[in-house]
Symmetry: C2
Subunit: 169 residues, 2 copies
């Protein structure tokens, strides 16, 4: 990793996923795969934009009833290191334009691990207040839940139910 | 150019500089050169950070009296296309962290021109209010003045005084 972590401003979630990096990368970068795990079930996700390049638009929607979709994430990809790292921020929208409601930058890193892949989400905020708010809004529960859904998908478990003992973050 | 312009949200400044792209690129990317033109004279500029890579910190200071330096720009480079394009934003700081006071993203483009180089500054805002404020704060005068200072430097004119007739933006 070439980036540094500031524990006063950042939130981190890591877990080991028992699948090769390539599978996790595909689950992140293939729209149909991504929609299966990006929001906590039973809510549904729809990918509006996923332009996997620096400056590319990254927009998702969420639906509680599977029919009516609302805005979820409106962000901009900043860096794509194929198979290894994805950086995006909602401080910008597609084309690098400043966003109306900036809040966080996320660096998603995949690293080889003896049991599969270490999945790391490093989320940066502008100040301690935003970090605290994000934690109180349920960062660990929310990002933990969807990381578990991602693991369930790529580990080939078909029960579709999270096994909470595997959440390490 | 691969980016699009939204005239409701963006401000543009362009001018022809009678020098090759390489010279202008050097004046942009060499700290000592850059400090000579980045703020309107007689104010002085100091480069604190100029990490020319995506995610790199870009911080400058300004001094009215040449002794006491104050914050000027605190930004993050987003894309560096060698010799051709520089993208930075103050919606982020170094390492892509969200900034406390986001306002603009700038795309600086150098294009070959029969008379030398077309210098284009495309500045994007989140909404019309920010665009209007930037215009009222003197965008054309400010960015025009320093583009003229840049031209004076790379065109080898040693009078150091802007020739306003050459400002085309």
């Amino acid at each position: 990793m070439t980036h540094s972590v500031n524990s006063d401003l950042d939130l981190m979630l890591s877990r080991v996923i028992k699948a090769p990096r390539e599978l996790i990368w595909r689950a992140w970068t293939d729209r149909a795969n991504f929609e299966q795990w990006w929001v906590p079930a039973p809510a549904k996700c729809r990918v509006v934009d996923m332009e996997l390049r620096p400056g590319g638009s990254f927009v998702t929607q969420i639906s509680e009833n599977g029919a009516d979709f609302m805005p979820h994430l409106s962000a901009c990809f900043l860096d794509i290191d194929d198979g290894k790292r994805i950086v995006f921020t909602n401080a910008l929208v597609g084309g690098w334009r400043p966003a109306e409601h900036p809040f966080m930058t996320a660096i998603i890193t995949l690293q080889d691990h003896p049991m599969g892949t270490e999945y790391l989400a490093h989320v940066m905020h502008r100040n301690q207040a935003d970090r605290s708010m994000h934690e109180e809004l349920g960062f660990y529960d929310g990002w933990g839940t969807v990381a578990e859904q991602l693991a369930t998908l790529v580990e080939g478990r078909d029960d579709g139910r999270p096994t909470s003992s595997e959440v390490t973050g």
